[in-house]
């Protein structure tokens, strides 16, 4: 049964990956906003932003990567929502396949497609002068944190898709997530912000994740931020997963 579940899930991942490769515009739409922001901040606004020594693109990239993920998972929600409203979800559910594989296929597709988008954004950053002294281990750690963050936000996307009434509603949840990095250490250091804003910026999930990735990419030793970052990711993941499962059970066989 579990072996079947894996085969079924991989067949279904192949299917939804085809959705992505057949509409290349989704990859472009996902990456264009973060890339445009990166260009805007590096070449227009960045000159006036004080981040200490070092290139601004190096400072900026971690936040841009999180924005890429936040805009990518909106498409995960749309794909899942479309499946449920088109009847193909019910076809799969009335077939002798592991039911969990239907949902997991969307989750795995989200991981793969976000990985592709992130690679594109990093390539553009390299062209813009981004350099990192980080070794293989540090890069693996960065990839791990980004994957965990993607997984956490993906379950929020699943929850949104399962509870939404319209496709627009299924994506609405991602807007605040895209906006969140602006009130964090992603673009400017938090110590330039006034009291309450600074307090919010320093205690929301993005800042600890951005700081951790920035340290890893700069080849600095990571401080306690990494535990806060992992705590946030795992916390969001668990809450998103549990609520998604509740919504899923309510949706099927009620």
């Amino acid at each position: 049964m579990t072996a079947h579940a894996l085969t079924d899930a991989s067949i279904l991942v192949g299917r939804s990956m085809r959705h992505i490769t057949r509409s290349v515009d989704t990859i472009i739409t996902v990456t264009i906003t973060p890339i445009a922001m990166m260009l805007l901040f590096v070449y227009v606004l960045g000159g006036a932003i004080e981040t200490g020594a070092g290139r601004y693109v190096d400072y900026l990239l971690p936040g841009i990567l999180l924005i890429t993920i936040a805009s990518g998972i909106a498409y995960t929600a749309v794909r899942l929502f479309n499946d449920m409203s088109s009847g193909i979800f019910e076809r799969f559910h009335s077939m002798p396949i592991a039911r969990s594989s239907v949902l997991w296929a969307h989750v795995l597709t989200s991981l793969v497609s976000n990985g592709l988008s992130l690679a594109i954004v990093v390539l553009v950053a390299l062209v813009m002068g981004f350099r990192s002294p980080a070794g293989l281990l540090a890069w693996l750690a960065v990839a791990g944190i980004l994957a965990l963050f993607t997984l956490a936000l993906t379950w929020l996307a699943v929850l949104a898709a399962l509870t939404a009434k319209t496709a627009e509603g299924a994506t609405a949840f991602s807007y605040p997530l895209i906006f969140l990095p602006f009130i964090s250490s992603a673009f400017v250091p938090t110590d330039s912000m006034p009291g309450p804003v600074r307090w919010f910026a320093e205690n929301q999930p993005v800042t600890s994740i951005v700081n951790t990735i920035r340290d890893l990419l700069a080849g600095h030793p990571v401080d306690g931020d990494i535990w806060i970052a992992l705590g946030w990711c795992v916390g969001i993941l668990v809450v998103g997963y549990v609520l998604s499962m509740v919504a899923y059970r309510r949706k099927v066989a009620s």
Binding site: S94, I97, A253
Partner: protein, 262 residues
């Protein structure tokens, strides 16, 4: 009319099935017996609960009370075995619009773990007059073609019980006639077909047995002749036979064309 199956256990057996959505009681104790290899039509107006029965039998929904077996397997305790025995074709064609017709068939064949998915797909494309359209995305298909593909996907793995929920709603007369032919062929091959319809004519032309669902209960259940006997015999009147508009339509466009241009 098939009378086989009276000695075999029923392909579908439903006893005292009840289902409510919040305060709305949709099914108030439904009893059904469908003989193997027969075509059974569930007739009822919109909102009578036909789709609810089909969704429960296809394990997509759970009933509140009552028992049901499909192909001898209990719906609640042996749901996985039920899913191996059935296929469902819902009211709206459940095809993947981004994939081509052939890819849709291959996908289902792979999910059913069949040995040669490509060959299965090509066979079905030929059988349902879709070979030429097989390489096109289904988003470009006409309503009739989508329906045919939908049914073709449902037949992969040769399920012994097929549920068709309003299979001809929204189809033009030619596509509808194609669908009727497909349903008859299925039953000829020994497949049990339970179809829902709101068209009396469809039940009359296709079904071995008809059940009328009204007010959450089956109020009549029998062969066409038995159901007709429920009302007083018809008086004989002589009227001129006028061709129906449908006869005219089919005569003009030619009813033998099954291929469509979209």
């Amino acid at each position: 009319m098939t009378t086989t199956g009276t000695d075999r256990p029923p392909a579908i057996q439903v006893k005292g099935l009840e289902k409510s959505y919040k305060d709305l009681q949709v099914l108030r104790g439904v009893d059904l017996d469908v003989a193997p290899g027969s075509i059974f039509a569930l007739l009822g107006s919109n909102g009578a609960g036909k789709t609810t029965i089909v969704r429960i039998l296809a394990t997509l929904l759970r009933g509140d009370a009552g028992t049901a077996t499909v192909n001898g397997f209990d719906l609640t305790t042996q749901a996985a075995r039920v899913r191996e025995s059935i296929s469902l074709t819902g009211q709206f064609a459940a095809v993947d619009e981004v994939l081509t017709g052939r890819e849709n068939l291959v996908l289902v064949a792979r999910l059913r773990h069949l040995p040669n998915p490509g060959a299965v797909a090509d066979d079905l494309l030929a059988r349902f007059d879709l070979t030429d359209a097989g390489a096109r995305r289904t988003a470009t298909y006409s309503g009739g073609m989508r329906r045919r593909l939908d049914i073709a996907m449902s037949l992969i793995g040769s399920p012994s019980v097929v549920f068709l929920d309003e299979p001809t709603t929204g189809l033009d007369p030619q596509a509808r006639n194609d669908m009727w032919r497909i349903v008859r062929e299925l039953a000829d091959d020994g497949t049990t077909v339970l179809l829902t319809t709101q068209y009396l004519e469809e039940a009359e032309k296709l079904a071995d047995r008809i059940a009328i669902l009204h007010g959450g209960r089956i109020i009549a259940d029998g062969t066409l002749a038995e159901i007709k006997a429920l009302v007083p015999p018809a008086e004989i009147e002589y009227v001129e036979k006028q061709p129906t508009l449908e006869d005219v339509f089919l005569a003009i466009v030619g009813s033998d064309t099954t291929k469509e241009i979209s």
